[in-house]
């Protein structure tokens, strides 16, 4: 076998091995999307009821809750980035980071200092490499987040929100995550979670859903304020949780897509390498024939000449 042909065969084998791996990752990601989607669906009833209860409490009680009042001076704003722990997921993490850079620039323009809270190894890596300050980071659960994880993140940020700016507190909390629309479409979204904008938004949403149905005259126990006090942190936790679930579903979808195109590319590469290998083999055969014919010719002309 010629050297050229051997090189081609070896490359084909290595690309085939890569293709097997990417194909396997694609299949794993596809099966996990379904599970992640089910988790998103399972969390919906709680979210809906929570929003309903909050808007009911707000419509009855005093809406000047500290978590719902925008501060007079904004100095520092927390930015939570939900990125992936692992790579090979296409632009999933980098899209979130890019959106975060945009928000950071916007905040700085307004004279607000952004403070980074990072979820996922990719985001942490990006910030560490640039030697930026990280106010909080959580890793190791992005593909299967639980409520405890979301609670941990939400509690940490809420604690900083409660502090004054001088002590390292923040005046606003923004959340950047990837919204899962369907298998093919995910988009990066930025939401301000504190101060809560929910008050008006949910009133409208609720009104749309319930078609101008007024909330019943609830008897609040212990009081509307106490109920709201307990529910608003829950709302923040729930929002982080929902974003994490959507992010996990998006991560799997992004990984599936990236791995599918990697498998397709490997397939293409194998095809073109096989063609080149065939050509090399054919050239080798042709050369051998011409060598034999040439040799025979030389022999016969030598014998006839004597």
């Amino acid at each position: 076998m010629g050297a050229q042909l051997r090189v081609y065969r070896r490359r084909i084998k290595s690309v085939q091995a890569t293709k097997k791996i990417t194909k396997a990752m694609e299949l794993i990601a596809s099966s996990r999307i379904v599970k992640a989607q089910q988790r998103v669906d399972a969390s919906l009833p709680y979210t809906q009821e929570l929003l309903r209860a909050i808007s009911a409490a707000v419509s009855h009680g005093n809406s000047k809750h500290p978590l719902a009042t925008p501060p007079e001076v904004r100095k520092r704003a927390a930015v939570i980035l939900l990125t992936a722990d692992r790579g090979l997921a296409g632009a999933y993490s980098s899209a979130v980071i890019k959106e975060g850079e945009g928000l950071n620039a916007l905040l700085r323009e307004e004279g607000v200092e952004p403070v980074a809270y990072l979820v996922g190894r990719k985001g942490v890596g990006y910030y560490k490499f640039r030697e930026r300050k990280i106010a909080g980071s959580w890793t190791g659960f992005t593909d299967q987040p639980t409520y405890e994880h979301a609670k941990e993140v939400a509690q940490a940020v809420l604690a900083d929100f409660a502090k004054s700016t001088e002590e390292g507190g923040v005046d606003e909390i923004h959340l950047i995550y990837t919204h899962f629309i369907n298998m093919g479409v995910q988009e990066v979204r930025v939401r301000r979670i504190l101060p809560v904008e929910i008050i008006e938004a949910t009133k409208e949403e609720a009104a749309e859903k319930l078609e101008t149905k007024v909330f019943p005259l609830y008897d609040f126990e212990p009081s509307p304020e106490a109920v709201l006090d307990a529910l608003l942190p829950r709302y923040v936790e729930n929002m982080v949780y929902t974003a994490m679930l959507l992010g996990a579903a998006s991560e799997h979808a992004a990984r599936r897509r990236a791995m599918k195109s990697a498998s397709d590319n490997a397939e293409e590469l194998i095809k073109s390498l096989a063609r080149q290998a065939n050509q090399a083999r054919q050239a080798e055969i042709t050369q051998e024939i011409s060598e034999i014919v040439g040799g025979a010719d030389a022999l016969s002309s030598a014998s006839s000449g004597s």
């Binding site: 209860a53 909330f215 609830y218 008897d219 609040f220 106490a226």
Partner: protein
């Protein structure tokens, strides 16, 4: 006979839903019992046991951690961070967890763990007591 519709929802799933004759839950101000036609209530719940008397079948007992209850027009919704049917609770495990939590230091986390374990054990006990009758 009038009945009320109850759904118990945890953050990540629907725990129980169905028609019921009554529901009893524990609020910061004491126990509250709700029968069909009760006035609308929106109340916080302390960690504890929620008892539901369904229209059909035996009593349902659920251990609830960090939740609240909303009732209006004969619809009762119990929302909780964690909600477990008493039947699903592994009593031995809950008791072991309780003993372990009590043996440890009195950190806030340990106290929360004690609370959770106690609620579980209590829920399981309530269920077995209901089964005796």
């Amino acid at each position: 006979m009038s009945e009320l519709h109850v759904s118990v929802v945890a953050v990540d799933r629907n725990v129980w839903s169905g028609a019921a004759k009554s529901i009893v839950a524990k609020t910061p101000e004491g126990e509250i019992g709700i029968l069909p036609g009760h006035e609308p209530v929106l109340s916080l719940l302390v960690n504890g046991v929620v008892r539901i008397e369904p229209v059909e079948g035996s009593k349902v007992v659920i251990a609830v951690h960090g939740g609240f209850l909303a009732f209006d027009s004969n619809e009762c919704r119990v929302l909780a961070e964690v909600a477990e049917l008493a039947g699903d609770i592994d009593v031995a495990r809950a008791e072991a967890a309780l003993a372990k939590a009590k043996a440890g230091e009195e950190t806030p986390e340990a106290l929360a763990a004690i609370h959770r374990a106690e609620t579980r054990v209590k829920a399981a006990a309530t269920l077995s007591a209901a089964g005796m009758h």
